[in-house]
Amino acid sequence: MSELVVFSVLNGLVYGMLLFMLASGLTLIFGMMGVLNFAHAAFYMLGAYFAYTISLYTGFWPGLVVAPLAVGLLGAATERYGLRRVHGFGHVAELIFTFGVAIVIGEVVQLVWGRPAKSYEGPAALDFALFHLFRSSFPAYKAFMLGISVAIFLFLLAILTRTRAGLIIQASLTHPGMVGMLGHNVPRVFMVVFGIGSALAGLAGVIAGPVLGTFPGMAQVLGSIVFVVVVIGGLGSLTGAFVASLLIGIVQTFAVALNVSVGDVAGAAGIRVASLPALHDLWRITVAQVAPILPYLLLVLVLIVRPTGLFGTRET
Amino acid sequence: MTPAIELLDVHKSFGGTSIIRGVSLTLEPGQRHALIGPNGAGKSTLFNLITGKYPLTSGLIRLKGEDVNGLRPYEINRRGLSRSFQVTNIFPRLSVFENVRCAVLWSLGYRYSFWHLVNAAREVRERTEMVLEQLNLTARRHMPAGMLAYAEQRALEIGITIGGGADVILLDEPTAGMSRSETEHVVQLIRQVSAGKTLLMVEHDMSVVFDLADKIAVLVYGQVIAHDAPERIRANPAVQEAYLGVAQTATA
């Protein structure tokens, strides 16, 4: 049992920090520009695929730097030549645009790399078990993932709180109009933030590809969860993104690992199961089956009760 | 006679900042009232409190004797109070005719009906045409409201406000940004539409104020320092010091 707990916590942390890498970019972009970037997960996917192609020629490590850079440039170009045009038409138009970008990127990936999953592997140097506990082992590569994510988090923290650029970004998170009035080139700041956010998503793809799989559906799998994280944490709040990422990461990992049914839980709480055929389906549901629904249930609840999320101050 | 609007020791703070600091005001029905005061005094905030956009921090607001604190704007509007906006707040993509019609629909009892055709409802058309004629916008009825000239938009703004037949009308700087002749037209319009109703308007143009108002209230720094007939307001030393002093030297 404690083996389950320990490894679920560890895996939950790895997954959670990965979510944070994605969520931080998304919430930054939303906070600054008011647009919820539907294509964010598509950039994540591009990062994995770019890194995969690079790894075919040079091995894993160069991709770690080159792929996020390429994705970041692509993101900046998307903002400069696409999003900027639609900016004046309102938030609905921006959402629709990023939705279209997500579709096109998804189709282009299928076109260029094909539909089957790619065997994108981590570096051989990290292909060993870091430690053994009970009967399971914790791969060193996952520790590497955790390390990169934490490093990125500290890096973001340092930049945002200790540099002038970071202060401008923080200010633009809550008062973009005012920052523009103060003479900063807000469109360029937008482009840079969009590029950095996309690069972060690409980096997440580079390190997650070997573990979560590199296949055309990977954007959809993670995309919605990242939205959930960002909304629950609070749109525009990095602290919120951090807390919500870890929360969702750990809860989801635990829920999948547990195999009790709703009926078991109810029984433990003393509620007897009446043998109603309609409810039979309900009672037989295991926690693992419900796990995929939980984040979205949370999303809808938060949006109804507290649209600003845990730490956010804006809802639009 | 029940006052049209009663404010009793109204306070409003945003966070730590106190904007309205104890306002008590009684507006008698059937009269035209003006609310004047320097910028930042809290005039628009007061409007927002009366019309339900913001909740009170403390105090009482009564509309025709009924406590309206906490009611949504549409609930207050349905009780017979309507307001215009300082920054033109119309429906830019709808035609001028449709703009006014939106204001007319609820008051004629159509609500959320999906079993009536608006074009077939005679009374809706008649009422809308009447208002359009008062606004002198009949020739523009099919034009998208966003394409009107500024003064015409301000007139439409008033039209939307009075279209529903409210008997308590709040106008927020109706003549802002207008030329002399445009202002005269709007004053005529206001005089027409407020006949027999209670009017409260925020204005900076003193000639309009003294032309239209039966009573003037002066709001300075979140408090009403005077509420009286125009001549007595003009002569009031506190008012002169706080507000009118500048205007007097300008006309002198």
Partner: protein
Amino acid sequence: MPTPTAARMISVADAARPSPLRRYGAWAAAAVALALLPHVLRAPAAVPVMNQMGIAVVFALSYNMLLGQGGMLSFGHAVYFGVGGFLAAHALNLAAQQGLWLPVPLVPIAGGLGGLLFAAIVGSFSTNRAGTVFAMISLGIAEMMAASALIFDRFFGGEEGITTNRAKAASLGGLHFTTDRDVYYLIAVWVLISAAAMYVFSLTPAGRMANAVRDNPERTEFVGYSQRWVRYVSFCASGLFAGVAGGLFAVNYEILTAENMGLNASGSVLLMTYIGGIGTFAGPILGAIVFTFLQSMLSDYTSVWLLYLGLVFLAAVLFVPVGLAGVLAMHGPAWRNQRFGRLAGPYLAAAVVTLVTLVGVIGCLEMVYFFVSAPAGQVTKQLFWLTVNVYTATPWAAFLALIVLGGLGMRWAGPRAAAAFADASLPRAAR
């Protein structure tokens, strides 16, 4: 009592309203056209595709009640389509089992009820706010339903879905619906009824205030309307008609799966509605027809049809946000000025260069696809009636050259076409 001048105004207004002939003429013409289509288009593939189009038209019109009329962007509209469809399928199965009287023509009513009920439940909390929050809630609900489908497999049929059989239904006045053609006429009637109903809705207080809430939700509160309630009424109506479309789907295909409620279906209806044009009533109709046509025809010729559709969608969002119907409507002044003929030359030139560019783009994309995904050993491909060897440089160079040439041509022809349009649209007095 209106004043004399007001009375004069009203009579002028009455005179300005279109005569009954013009008002109902378009609908009558549509009815006639729908009745004749299967006789005009005799290809065997035509009727099934037209059935698909009909269902898409109702679905897209219902979606535009939210997006175009109400300003509400939903990423999960297919949920109401699906729930309606599932309910219709279950109703048909139940009626056949218990011997109840539910003839096929009335099955879409069950679909509509399902869509309405579910929309009434979800709308009670989702219409509190519009904008991004509404869109996110719709996404959350869609994801929840997608995940729930596998859990509540009694209603959703799990992996295999729910099948039904329209032959087992009671008959209505001796009418049986065995062939695709029979179903076509049923769908055509329902399309006319639904479209007419949705059009009439837009002319009611609820529909007009939906436009007002879209443009300025705050102001509507100050004229006595609760923006929440206005949105809620639109939402429920839109769910009703989405459910009708789902019911038609159940009748036509006799199977519903969780895919029909999924995010791809919701994305498709957004695409087709936007491409058609969200600003007019006919826009979604046009978009549904074009999208379904491209989807069914293109998928025979190419595997990357969704990429093409996605690119068209992006082009629409960036350059032509008014959509196809919007572009057609923009040419109204030119038509009324009777200067339409002047557009022929410049438009033809622009069309030719655009076509050249498109051929180049399509050629390159198709070759890339072939390069990546063709089975080993195959080196040649059929492309535009030519056989090309993908591994040689010639076809690549040729298509790239077409793109460059076409692009240059567009830079020349585009401004000319725009100038011709502007000139033709000038009011007569300005000449």
